[in-house]
Subunit: 313 residues, 2 copies
């Protein structure tokens, strides 16, 4: 039995979309998963009444406080011990849930992940990636997308390992091609960071390094895992997100560009912390929640954390 903790108070449409997402997930998945719905019990119960969930597959853990989106992460987590995020991390740390998902305050989720779960030994900096839709229908992973604005070469090298393990076990890509985002293709190109990271990636036996990739390669399938500092990655991600908005404003109907709707992906895990933690987009809808629960399950069943641990030994 896998037990997934879900913050019901996080996100702009809480708790309705989280409940709907849970229902959609449970409809597809038989008895092997238990969902722990964390948040205001009364509010959750009311919503569940209208959106029923199979009784044997969920429990509610009451957490009366909410960390709002604008609150200071560390301060809020400390002062709101009964918040859904704080309670979620307590459950995760004590092994009562196997994974924790929230679309709430990103900063509070990060602080919770780093301090109550801790990083895997050897991982210098955990990272967050984002999916990049490619024309062949698959998803690539861009990593980091904002958690680490300033990076050292070894950070990028570790992001490559973390991203490759995620791509292999969660996205099910065999020997994921791993590329270094750069301003030119040739070895030796780049800013100082990319120049210094290249030889480390080349020597990294945990990854299938395919060399430098350029901006024009991010939306094709030249590499499955695309490594960069969090500043560059964040600018790229938000630019890619804005393409969907432009396409919609211009009334363009296109299957491929529909996949630029990043809201449906929900979020990707914090890679490098000891247990599965997924931070969702604030505007996550039910599909996003369903997808996040699915990914959390896969992280638990494949023991991604254990595999990361082994790679960093």
């Amino acid at each position: 039995m896998i037990t997934i903790g879900l913050d019901m108070m996080g996100g702009d449409y809480a708790p309705l979309e989280a409940v709907k997402g849970a229902a959609a997930f449970l409809a597809d998945n038989a008895a092997e998963t238990m969902l722990v719905l964390i948040g205001d019990e009364e509010k959750i119960t009311t919503v569940v009444k209208n959106n029923p969930l199979p009784r044997a597959q969920y429990t509610i853990v009451h957490a009366p406080q909410i960390i709002e989106m604008h609150e200071h992460p560390t301060k809020a987590l400390k002062e709101k011990q009964a918040s859904s995020i704080a309670v979620g991390f307590q459950l995760l740390a004590t092994g009562k849930i196997d994974a924790f998902i929230s679309a709430g305050n990103t900063g509070a989720m990060m602080v919770g992940a780093l301090f109550s779960i801790k990083t895997i030994e050897g991982v210098l900096r955990p990272t967050i990636g984002a999916y990049m839709p490619r024309e062949n229908g698959s998803l690539g992973l861009l990593v980091d997308v904002g958690l680490n604005a300033d990076c050292k070469p070894e950070n990028l090298n570790q992001f490559a390992t973390l991203g490759s393990l995620f791509a292999e076990h969660i996205l099910k890509i065999k020997k994921p091609k791993t590329g270094l985002v750069n301003l030119g293709e040739e070895e030796g190109k780049g800013n100082l960071l990319a120049q210094a990271a290249y030889p480390l990636l080349k020597e990294n036996t945990h990854i299938n390094f395919v060399g430098n990739i350029e901006g024009r390669d991010i939306l094709i399938d030249k590499a499955d895992v695309m490594v960069c500092d969090g500043f560059t990655g964040n600018v790229v991600l938000k630019l890619a997100e804005s393409i969907y908005d432009i396409v919609k404003r211009r009334n363009i109907e296109d299957e491929h560009f529909d996949r630029f709707n990043f809201e449906t992906y929900g979020g990707v895990p914090v890679l490098g912390v000891a247990k599965p933690v997924i931070i969702g987009h604030g505007i996550s809808g039910s599909t996003a929640f369903k997808n996040m629960i699915n990914i959390a399950c896969r992280m638990v069943t494949t023991d991604l954390s254990g595999k990361i641990k082994a790679s960093f030994e």
Copy 2:
């Protein structure tokens, strides 16, 4: 009379597209411009025979050598003194032409600009920007897009001044809104570079600073001049270029996305060098050449170099 030097041997379609572009430009512009066509005289003459130019508005300066795209810039410039690029810079340095345009070897153009024309006093690093098409039909300027992979805060601050002057005098945008590309909107966000650049931009009296802009703001008109290091800018530019390719592959017909065809823009000037120099895309077609000649003319008539000089005094 404005005299514009045009490298006829640069670019993938030399000299045909350059001649066509010159013809298109001269068809719109009366007697005030003289074009100096630099390159292999025989080849140019042959092409001009089939694509006639008004006899009073051009001369040919014979330059029998060509610097190929793959050649080492410094070495090639030194060894090929009779190449179209070397001759172009000789003409520019000695005042025989007012501006020089080439779609040839970018590195050789940069070396030529920096060493035969030199930077304007006070400019630490010249920069190259790129247009960003926005939905309202206007163009923004992203600067730097690859010339300066690693930057110091003062470099970004100078790019802001250089980009603003270009936007004001060449793109004719009054008090161009100037933004710092960053991973968040709030002051204090960013990597170390952006954090340190922000206060400099805020204090810069030569620009109309509007604060941080995010990746999602690059393709809208939140800022007219968008400042970043050349690594980030290069990745963004090439990603934006690839959007056009995807749109075309998917047979999407859309006026706005047609403006993502960066080939038509031709190129933007090297900002910060003492005289107007424009480096074009290798695949420049006739429209690109025409646009580059137009911009070069505007740079001369508005005395952009003089205005930059005054801002850095």
